[in-house]
């Protein structure tokens, strides 16, 4: 058994496909990005090594700052608008039971299976100043309904609304699954103690959902950083750079502004930011868990001593 399970040749044959894919599709491009990040390559012809010049420009680049600020807005929108709504909806849905529960769960997730391309173009029409749905709704409620949603001041909010709307079903489903995993005995106990639904939600559901919320918050921040496709189709960063996101910006720099080298430098910084964000968020949540565990242990030790 041991011999069979440590046969080097067999092991190699098993991990080789995965490793080759990793090297070819992930590691090699990153190395290439690092290399081109040190050049003034336009995408065609010859180029020079220019050292850290791209990174120096990058530090002063106002567009990158806007892009990161927009990611921050999006992350805040996810965390403070989308997730609370998703969590509450999930808790309400959990109480419904029967066929209605399955029906709503199914309906909420439908936008998630639709291509970003459809979603982006659909919302372009919804925001359309002439016949768009949104202005028509405002008219139906007696407003003027002639708002240009993609003006410099409002465009970022228009983009955020689409992203929050599109991802809602996903967040809802994860919270819903988490709530379903809570032991129903706890709810019964609460009901016997005469707790109403709000107290039950605040005192039982919410604390027990903490790990799920933490995972969801981490994912929200990361996906806010990585956002590209919706913005690319909806506004392509415009008007001006008001709705710019990092991934879209590096793409534009490389393929539209013909600064391939600079685009790659942004890419390198982008990867570093994403790695850092993941590590930091995991650390924050891990530490909290650990201190909590320690507290619990201490309390237990005290209890045992008494």
């Amino acid at each position: 058994m041991k011999k069979l399970y440590s046969n080097k040749l067999v092991i190699l044959s098993l991990v080789l496909p995965g490793l080759v894919l990793f090297l070819f599709a992930i590691l090699a491009p990153i190395c290439l990005s690092v290399y081109y990040g040190f050049t003034d390559y336009s995408g065609m012809g010859s180029y020079n090594m220019i050292g850290l010049e791209n990174y120096k420009t990058l530090l002063q680049d106002p567009t990158l700052r806007i892009a990161l600020r927009n990611s921050l807005y999006l992350a805040l929108g996810f965390i403070f608008i989308q997730h609370p709504l998703a969590l509450i909806t999930a808790a309400v849905l959990d109480k419904l039971g029967g066929r209605g529960e399955n029906f709503f769960r199914c309906v909420y997730f439908i936008p998630n299976v639709i291509s970003v391309a459809v979603i982006a173009y659909l919302w372009k029409f919804i925001y359309n100043p002439d016949f768009g749905l949104l202005n028509n709704i405002i008219k139906a409620f007696g407003g003027k309904g002639d708002i240009n949603w993609f003006s410099t001041d409002t465009a970022i909010w228009a983009v955020l609304i689409v992203l929050i709307w599109h991802g809602f079903g996903w967040g809802m489903l994860i919270y819903y699954t988490g709530i379903k995993n809570i032991d129903p005995v706890l709810y019964e106990a609460a009901a016997i103690d005469g707790a109403n639904q709000t107290t039950t939600f605040l005192k039982i559901t919410l604390p027990l959902m903490k790990p799920v919320i933490q995972v969801n918050v981490t994912m929200a921040v990361i996906s806010a950083l990585k956002q590209m496709e919706t913005v690319y189709l909806l506004t392509n960063g415009g008007p001006g750079n008001s709705t710019q996101f990092t991934a879209n910006y590096l793409y534009q720099q490389a393929f539209k502004a013909f600064k391939y080298g600079y685009g790659n430098a942004i890419g390198v910084i982008f990867i570093i930011i994403c790695l850092l964000a993941t590590v930091i968020l995991n650390k924050i949540f891990e530490d909290r868990e650990e201190t909590k565990l320690k507290k619990l242990e201490k309390a237990r030790a005290k209890g045992a001593a008494v």
Binding site: V10, V15, A25, I26, L96, F109, F131, K226
Partner: protein, 281 residues
């Protein structure tokens, strides 16, 4: 006590329904609007009403969308590329998971870490260098330009799910198989794989969902229609029919249809799969 509880639920039930219906309307009304407008003619759109009742249902919009949007070709490409990606992701992830989790060798932890690293790398940062690599190797405009990154970026999550399920399978089974003279490959594919069915389903669903709607890589690495995928029906159409809004609505509805129909049919399995993938991942 019990009676009081029942009374309360009678009052709260309608409130639950109202909340849920409002959320459902917000989530689904834009899609109903899309469907409605896709059956009208462009002239009818400039109303101030929310929905139009078309004078004559314009099925012609869909015919145009179907023919000029290259719908069948792009649908075939999407199904083929995504299907292959799913099969490859499952195969490669089971093999790697078994090697890293069950076999005994020094670097197993390191290799697993390395393969999981992909989870943290933003896909769009690789667009520029990969474009360079694929054009140097002559892979642009081939199926491989999509298949390779689709598999590579779905692999980390798949590997994660496979290893966490594999650890629940008792080793004794394999020991018995070894006694009977089974080789490693037979152990993996005849004993382990059938037991991984639920996680295989989850991986398949997650991989399919992630890649089905992908178009950033597709629009970077492909230029001719040979291998273009479904989202291109819309991307190309909006230029061509920029003033014919009704046909644009039709092509959007048509492009969304396959995924929505499959989702409605398989919705229980898909929600289960997504939930499992998300909770474990």
């Amino acid at each position: 006590m019990e009676r009081a509880g029942k009374k309360k639920s009678k009052i709260t039930k309608p409130i639950l329904w109202i909340v849920l219906i409002i959320v459902a309307v917000i989530q689904i009304f834009p899609l109903i609007w899309l469907l409605d407008f896709s059956l009208a003619s462009s002239n009818e759109m400039f109303t101030s009403g929310l929905l139009i009742i078309p004078k004559k249902i314009q099925w012609g919009n869909y015919v145009k969308a179907f023919v000029d949007g290259n719908f069948l070709l792009y649908l075939k490409n999407s199904i083929l590329i995504n299907g292959l990606a799913v099969v490859l992701v499952i195969l490669v992830s089971i093999m790697a998971a078994f090697a890293c989790h069950r076999m005994r060798w020094k670097l197993s932890g390191t290799v697993k870490m390395l393969l999981l690293m992909g989870l943290m790398i933003p896909i769009h940062a690789t667009l520029l260098p990969n474009y360079k690599i694929y054009s140097m190797l002559g892979l642009t405009d081939t199926m491989w330009a999509l298949l390779i990154p689709y598999v590579a970026f779905s692999l980390p999550q798949a590997l994660f799910l496979m290893t966490s399920f594999m650890s629940a399978i008792p080793v004794e089974l394999e020991e018995a198989a070894v006694m009977d003279g089974c080789g490693i490959y037979r152990i993996i594919f005849q004993i382990i794989t059938p037991m991984l069915k639920p996680s295989i389903a989850t991986v398949a669903i997650m991989t399919f969902l992630n890649n089905w709607n992908e178009f950033m890589m597709a629009s970077t690495y492909l230029s001719s229609p040979t291998w273009k995928t479904l989202p291109f029906s819309i991307l190309e159409f909006t230029g061509e029919y920029s003033s014919n809004y009704a046909v644009q609505f039709a092509v959007m509805a048509l492009t969304a249809a396959p995924a929505v129909i499959v989702y409605i049919i398989l919705n229980k399995h898909i929600t289960k799969g997504v939930a499992m993938g998300a909770v474990k991942g």
